[in-house]
Chain length 306, copies 4
């Protein structure tokens, strides 16, 4: 029996909408600092084609780190397992921007969802494509089936102007020999990638593709096999929430990814994909209400992937 | 359609039996160093009651770290979420016996499946029970439905005689205030716990219980709810293979746990549980052929939990 | 022209005696926690035989880590440079009891004045002597020319009862193969060694020997060459004050050693030795007023070893 | 009685000239990689005005990190103790280019002689002067009493083109808020500073100033008090040789500084300054023969600063 997803996400929305929120909006990117902290939207889309939305589910927001899954899937479709010659698949055990592991481990990032790893993935895309920005945008528009997806150049430039930590990571990787292109060129793409905007509805639709773990999926020439798709989910489960990944797996039990813009997307393969947007973040850098909402979801459903 | 598990595990067994094995048998516990490195057994048991065995699947071996799941489930059934006041649920990002994180994080172990965490769990059991060894043995006999499960005292004493690293961890935890009982008493139980012996068949039967993620399970007074059971699986997925947990999730895609005796047990909740035993270990401390066998299993099945 | 040391230490004493003291008395050793925090004594003794005392300079206190210099000099006189096969001569860059470096660097302590290094030195003494406690006590009585120096067994037992951190260090070293004897036997000697009591006058007299850097010194069979003596001073300068060693060299400019009992001893080779006792410690574990007093000393004298 | 310095440095030169040399020439700066590894010169200059030279003592070489002492002394003369608000005076316990400590300690470098610290000092100079390159060059020409000291722009540009590690450090410091100016501007000065060339004779003459620890010294408006000068020596002793500083203090017993160009300069305050140049470096990054030569020097002299 299919659960009544619509009722469940409405219950969650109503319980959380006016709840106190201990999170703080990310302020290290000047252009994201002034976002309305009360924004709150949820969208749950099923592989059967059902879509359930509530709150600000049709408002655009900045995907930020959520895009790391999308850049990885694009590169993975092109390079296959060669990707793992330059980045590992292990949880980092440290914060999302930690440079320590990178130095100890000789410029080989722990996984593609921490900043260091995503920068190496960006480097691969810069090597693979003459116009990586266009290719990437086209790819995710294809996954979403929607041409109304854009970079927010103002956000990209804003992040670039203060992204010293990412410059430090990129130069460290370069100094260890694991970055092919110029740091400026790689980070230019990286900041653009992070600035992509979607609505909750678009985000759930895009990531629903990763739920097709028994058939190939993709767009154009960029197809993932079912086996690769399962691996993408495994990575999201073990590494999707920085050093709170274990907690998310433990409390929610779904593969997913968060971003400092306040987005979380998660999925139960072969069933549904759910996205939540609420800007205030907990101390680990994940949306405070987003985490709560998804805990409530799998509790109410009485099942996760486990 | 149910897969032909019997045929699949026989295929795997035959492909790997005589394959070269780059692993090395753990030699830091004197009594385990002389084990026959060619031993190799597989058992897959389904929730429907089907049991498939091949090779040395009915020979006893030392469970070692595999028992960390069982001691946790016993304590979790008694203390519930109070367990997490003293141990976290995050992947460690370091080796199984690393003391570094412990010092930085003030004696609060990253998860219950690294040595430090398991020692804290052992401390809880020592506090909870007058005769923790008897209670623990009775509990796992009950889970397995088999009274022929024993400690191997010779192995326990052997490990105790050289377990300096674990003494160092335990005293560090004690110095940070997160160990209630005497170090000697806690480690005595811990070394006994690790020395439990099972066959592949018994191991698969025991862990099959954790596959019942939609109903409570347990033995006697020690019952886990369905929700707790799902969390046990989440922990196994994110933390079950030390700093190779990400790799196992990525390549195999099942919750599981390994031990230095050469055992790996893994499960697909609501479906089956599989155990493999092959003593030589890879550099991360996990059974070399065990890892290979389980990669082949989910590849041949064309599905994991994802 | 010889400075008027007596006037100078009296000036310092008077300026500091009633000054506010931001330090806190070490309370992790139960028997030291209840010491009178207002105790304050200074003694400066010259190689010409002049002795200048002020305040509580004739009251006994617990030397604690100050004794690490004495156990090293005893072992150094017996083993020569073989000592450095098991312990290094580099500043640690971490706190006095950090176990992290020890794990990264495979049980090879950074220097003999952090706890880990002193435990390895204690292990050497336990190997070298049937009754190391008697030999050590006799040695330092000889250096001081005073038979009224004793262990405080109550303090030793008190420290032993709560010395979990040192047990953790010792077992870590043992697990890495750099401890020959039983942990209990080594730490028993170590806690006794730390419990030695002296007055400021006795302490200055004892360490004055290290100022004889152009002739051999020692007691009985335990003689250091002039070259070894200069090396002892170099070690005190670079490693004598845990992770405040650089600060002490920078502000005071003398080789020296501190202990959590509130003692600091320092010397200007070929000239004088000075000891200060004031129990409250700064956050780095060094006597708050002791540090101040010695800064004032070399400032007033207008010269250090530099 | 003054030692016969000339005879001693000739003895050392002859003993070491044809000795096997286990060091390797630094090759990370392309333009320094092709230097003649057999170059070997020594110069010892006394405060009495005596100068003793042997070997290639009048050939120019790249000072590299040796210049960190000179940039610090310039800034210290201008800002006094305000310098220490942004950089510490403790030995680092890690390699010269480690970024780890920097991240743990929030962008506050351990000391001004590791790269991170020297970059912060360079930032101060960039803030203080319109044309820091001219001011710095003029300052060291003044200290040396020689207008024939130049930057080597080719070396500076060569280092800049591959200095990814230093960019990573500088951006990390910037991200933590401890760098005022643009990274490019600061590093431009830093690479120029490092490229200064001197002969052994000029180097000994320049650093002889730091031996005047009982009177002020400096050039033009940039004077250090005697107390500041003693502190410069203390810093050289505890931090002058990266993570081999303890070893140098132990074996040689003099304040000093090394550079990857193969130079070492050391001094015994109030007595003499000695410089050695031999390009092959040991594993810690210090001149292999330079270390040996200075060990022999203080052994033959029978005294160090201790």
């Amino acid at each position: 029996m299919t659960p009544d997803y619509d009722q469940i996400i409405n219950e969650i929305y109503n319980e959380l909408k006016d709840a106190s929120d201990e999170g703080t909006v990310a302020d290290y990117i000047p252009d994201l600092a002034h976002i309305d902290r009360t924004k709150f939207g949820i969208c749950l889309t099923t592989l059967d084609g059902e879509q359930n939305k509530v709150g600000d589910a049709d408002e655009k927001f900045s995907l930020q780190s959520v895009t790391k899954v999308l850049s990885l899937s694009l590169v993975f479709s092109q390079l296959g397992n060669k990707v793992w010659d330059r980045v590992d698949v292990e949880p980092s055990g440290n914060g999302f921007n930690s440079i320590i592991q990178l130095e100890y481990e000789n410029g080989f990032p722990r996984n593609p969802f921490i900043n260091a790893g995503a920068i190496v993935i960006a480097d691969m895309l810069v090597s693979l494509h003459k116009d990586p920005k266009a290719v990437f945008l086209n790819y995710i528009r294809g996954l979403c089936g929607n041409t109304d997806i854009q970079y927010n150049e103002k956000v990209a430039l804003s992040e670039k102007s203060v992204g010293y930590g990412n410059y430090s990571l990129a130069y460290m990787i370069k100094s260890k020999g694991n970055l092919v292109n110029d740091v400026d060129e790689v980070l230019d793409f990286y900041f653009w990638q992070c600035s992509v905007e979607m609505t909750c509805a678009e985000l759930a639709q895009t990531f629903l593709n990763f739920g097709e773990t028994n058939v190939p999926f993709g767009h154009g020439n960029y197809m993932l096999t079912a086996s690769q798709s399962r691996r993408m989910n495994a990575l999201m489960l073990t590494c999707g929430f920085y050093d709170e990944s274990g907690e998310f797996a433990f409390e929610v039990g779904l593969p997913g990814k968060s971003g400092v813009g306040g987005a979380i997307v998660a999925l139960n393969p072969l069933r549904y994909c759910v996205s939540v947007w609420s800007p205030p973040l907990n101390v680990k850098g994940n949306s405070y209400k987003g985490m709560k909402a998804l805990e409530m979801l799998t509790t109410k459903l009485g099942r996760s992937i486990f």
